[in-house]
Subunit: 292 residues, 2 copies
């Protein structure tokens, strides 16, 4: 298991140099293969899913169990993920369906997160940062733009910058993307709307397209082995009405209570992550203003 963590630290260095560099794909692939090998030697145990129409399992090793994994989204190692890394490197995402893309990203993300769950104790940070890298690199490669993680804020007295989640500047006259990435959100989600609010305030509403990307909102009771989803749809509506507006929320494993948010008022459009690649151009087009 030392391998995956060693490659992870190389990945970290490469990312600091150039987020969209192609060698990063290779690091993700090597980490994936090492974690797969590790997980293949652990037990898979069924969890008691309290969520309608979703089945979950967990990896178990030496008395520890990993986070919950959605059975229908996690791909067994049939070589398809190895082929997926080639697609990622070439950014030819349209070779797969939205559903297949979502499954590939879900498998890659959970494969690493579950490994960390089993080899470390109480480490939420490493899985979180890894997932940020995975999504950040994907956007970066797809858009051919390196992200920023701080922006200048107008201040009459002195220069000030605000640390942010990923920001992708699509160029003069075009929208900018504000891309927060979280494994899960829980009550911390209000930060995402608050950051969007700051961007709207500083640069004008509509200038930044807010896109939140998450894995899932499951929570496992390690004793009873029950899996539930922790969701706050009514609070999300209040944030979308009174703080700012997110354009999209993409999940790898969409929580059932959030599915309905795409209808009704205020609308919060929740989709599977794989759909991003097929609607991105449209999303940019309808949000962009004309360059002067």
């Amino acid at each position: 298991m030392i391998d995956a963590l060693m490659i992870y630290s190389k990945l970290q260095k490469a990312i600091r140099k150039n987020f969209k560099s192609e060698e990063i794909c290779d690091y993700f692939k090597d980490i994936f293969e090492d974690c797969s090998l590790f997980l293949s030697k652990t037990e898979k145990i069924d969890l008691l899913s309290k969520i309608t129409d979703k089945k979950y399992f967990a990896f178990e090793r030496e008395g520890k169990i990993s986070r919950a994994v959605n059975q229908s989204l996690f791909k067994d190692d049939d070589g398809s993920i190895t082929r997926f890394f080639k697609i990622m490197k070439e950014k030819k995402y349209d070779k797969l369906s939205a559903r297949e893309l979502t499954k590939a990203f879900y498998t890659i993300a959970q494969n690493f997160c579950c490994t960390i769950d089993l080899i470390k104790t109480g480490d939420q940070k490493t899985p979180g940062t890894y997932f940020e890298y995975l999504i950040g690199h994907t956007f970066s490669g797809f858009l051919d733009i390196n992200p920023q993680n701080k922006i200048e804020v107008l201040n009459l007295d002195k220069k000030a910058t605000l640390p942010t989640d990923f920001i992708f500047d699509l160029g003069v006259g075009k929208s900018k993307l504000h891309l927060p990435v979280k494994t899960s959100t829980r009550e911390r989600v209000i930060q995402v709307w608050a950051h969007q609010r700051v961007l709207d305030g500083v640069y004008g509403s509509g200038r930044f397209i807010g896109i939140l990307v998450c894995i899932a909102e499951t929570k496992t009771n390690t004793r009873s082995r029950e899996v539930i989803e922790i969701c706050l749809p009514d609070q999300w509506k209040i944030y979308q009405m009174f703080i700012s507006r997110l354009e999209r929320v993409y999940y790898l494993d969409i929580p059932t209570p959030y599915e309905k948010l795409s209808k009704g008022f205020p609308q919060i459009i929740i989709k599977s992550f794989g759909e991003f690649f097929f609607e991105f151009n449209q999303l940019i087009k309808q949000s962009s203003y004309t360059s002067s």
Copy 2:
């Protein structure tokens, strides 16, 4: 040590029934005395303060050290705190100076927090909840109003409520207080401005007076035993400009970098907690609207 935790669970029950009940003072007093006894049997060690003009120590027991305690704010057990609980019960805070009040609250809060640091591992929640109770009860008694922790939010289609920090409704035609209470804030502080923003959006700007109460922003490196303050004054300014407006931030141990925020633009008025009791009437008066 079992005593303090046993009384704490009684306190919790009493608070659920009636936040402003006078018996709660007695529970605080009993907890204080038990924790004092416990701490008197531990070692006091000096920390290396990296903060100009502030000295810190910590309690040490069985290889564990507590959070940092400001030497000039923590009162040794000379009976003055026991007398303070009488003042708290009678709500006659003007018997003491603002400085003495701040020291009393600081001592009561840190006395419990340090005890938990030494008898539990990684428990941030119990100290946080205890501090919420302490400040919540103090406001509740002082204002003679029980707080709410959720408010109704207008929604055309159905009833909706938003969970909030403490809300004190001063009555028809008067302001309402929005009172978030945190042992320290770090990067989570944006939530406070975001909640204030929601209240402004739902009920109109100025209707809710936002008052944040914190203990300190110190961080101790347990190895090197250095104490620093983690502060983000530039980010606070951005939140105060672009998310919402907090009327006051009260600290028990004001972080040096935040002292300057009371001057300049945008103004964020930071004061010692003890000053609250002497400016409250003025604060309400200038913020209140006329009843119709």
